[in-house]
Subunit: 316 residues, 2 copies
């Protein structure tokens, strides 16, 4: 039987409609091919094709490229300005009729020298380093006076909105707190962790972190990775907590990759500079398309129950 | 200069980032091919492949298929139950932990006997008839006691979520009013019509209807078709008003088709059974993918200004 489910806290509904998975399609479902590493501006040796790095990471050290000098090479992670930014670093100017300058920061985190070395394939030290870079960038950007929200997210595969194939995350900092984040203030994810710990929706449970298939998953095989101790953002977590958060995230991504033949996905952190929000990471495989019904109602249709999704992810 | 813009009424922001259109992509952008009419269950002569029609339309007449008799043929529009419904016609049962039965109605409106005869290509009488069918279905479904909202929408092209190629719309009736609709109560679209009538965002202006590129368009070439007189839904409009609404809609779709090489799109009606909502139709071409940033923040990035979009649509 199909179900209408409501999110733990938000006024957000989803239809769990298992039969929908069986419907036929007239269209071909080929995975979009990605190009190889030739001409890739993010690959090692191509550093001069991008603006100077804001931070290049080496084993035990990191720092920006220096103006007028050749870019640093031999990095493990490299943070650069987005060359086609959605927002720009400039003072906010309010304009008449409800507009303002799109002031902010738009960065690209090149996650690995390897052209195909995505987080789902990373070793422990690599994924921990990536989360440390996320933390460092958050800390630096949060110091810009007009920045109110920092979105740290990842698009994997063309279907999930990636335009370049080399492993990278993006950071967009905004001069507003988006409503989708603002309305999460005060939510007690401690209750969710407690409730779901012995539910069929638990995927993984480690010392500092749980991963669950949320009760009202909007997307098929959606997973949330939630640190057990309430922190507002990555900078408030201890190194041990953040390392555990990174490893559980990698494990969930690796399980999704194995279960669903390396599907396209998005992930994004829900966090806050100074509002009362419990940080967590939302991972959404991109197996379908949001269509007219979702556009109209904001209600998603999910053809796999979160209970079955969690079971498959536990057992794979 | 990039801009952050807020919707006329909603706490919904969009980034207008013109430079983003120039960014390179590693991925192939082939349009998904659709199959031909062989084996199409929606084509004339294939009526017995679907459940009996809830209403088959003929010139000047309409009625449902009768149980136990062969399905009617020779129709111009045919309304059938969705064979893979998201919601089902059954009493609502509230279940523990925030769930309920997904009670409702899920119908398919086969819009034309022609396998490729989509609304953007329809003659005046054909598009007017389609809007009359939308009206009739709304009127009938609104009478079901547990139905609180009726979503009438269309997905064109695989990229926009269509699974079958034959021209069709869908109707999903829900036992809840989704928040995205509920929060539009009381908005005065009369003000929007007045303001935009002499703005660079006007696309078309006819006796009873305007079409605009909204100030904070979430999607590239997004267009809203708004009846001038405030009505809550299609049943409250006069035949003349509804006919004009249909023609302006078809004209906008035809202009989009010409300007953008027949792009995939979604459209959906914002309307209400009995809440204070001003009916309008939202048309969104599907030229990009919603990715991690949109998922995280609800903020869309649009690479064409609504002013330029409207100008191109006026002049094409």
């Amino acid at each position: 039987m199909n179900e209408l489910r409501r999110d733990y806290f938000l006024d957000r509904w989803v239809i769990i409609a298992v039969d929908r998975a069986k419907r036929p399609s007239d269209f071909v479902h080929a995975r979009e091919p990605a190009s190889g590493s030739q001409d890739c501006s993010f690959c090692p040796g191509q550093e001069s094709k991008t603006p100077p790095s804001k931070a290049s990471y080496f084993d035990g050290d990191h720092g920006p490229d220096e103006p007028g000098k050749p870019p640093q090479t031999g990095w493990t992670v490299r943070v650069i300005p987005n060359m086609y930014p959605a927002v720009r670093q400039e003072e906010v100017h309010i304009r008449r009729d409800m507009g303002m300058t799109a002031s902010g920061v738009h960065e690209v985190v090149v996650e690995s020298p390897g052209h195909d070395h995505h987080p789902q394939f990373m070793a422990d030290d690599e994924i921990r380093r990536l989360f440390r870079v996320y933390r460092d960038r958050f800390a630096e950007i949060a110091g810009i006076p007009y920045v109110r929200y920092i979105s740290v997210f990842r698009n994997y595969g063309k279907e999930a909105g990636a335009s370049l194939a080399h492993p990278h995350s993006q950071i967009i900092a905004l001069p507003i707190v988006p409503r989708d984040i603002d309305e999460q203030r005060g939510f007690d994810y401690g209750l969710v962790i407690e409730d779901e710990a012995d539910s069929p929706r638990l995927i993984l449970d480690s010392k500092h972190t749980v991963a669950i298939a949320p009760f009202a998953s909007c997307f098929t095989y959606e997973a949330w990775v939630i640190p057990k101790r309430k922190c507002r953002n990555l900078t408030e977590m201890t190194d041990e907590e953040r390392d555990d958060f990174a490893l559980v995230t990698r494990d969930v991504l690796a399980r999704l990759s194995k279960l669903l033949s390396d599907p396209p996905y998005n992930y994004a952190f829900v966090q806050s500079i100074d509002d009362d929000i419990h940080i967590h990471l939302r991972i959404c495989p991109k197996l379908g398309v949001e269509a007219g019904f979702e556009l109209n109602t904001g209600v998603h249709i999910n053809s796999v129950t979160p209970e079955n999704a969690a079971k498959s992810l536990r057992e794979v």
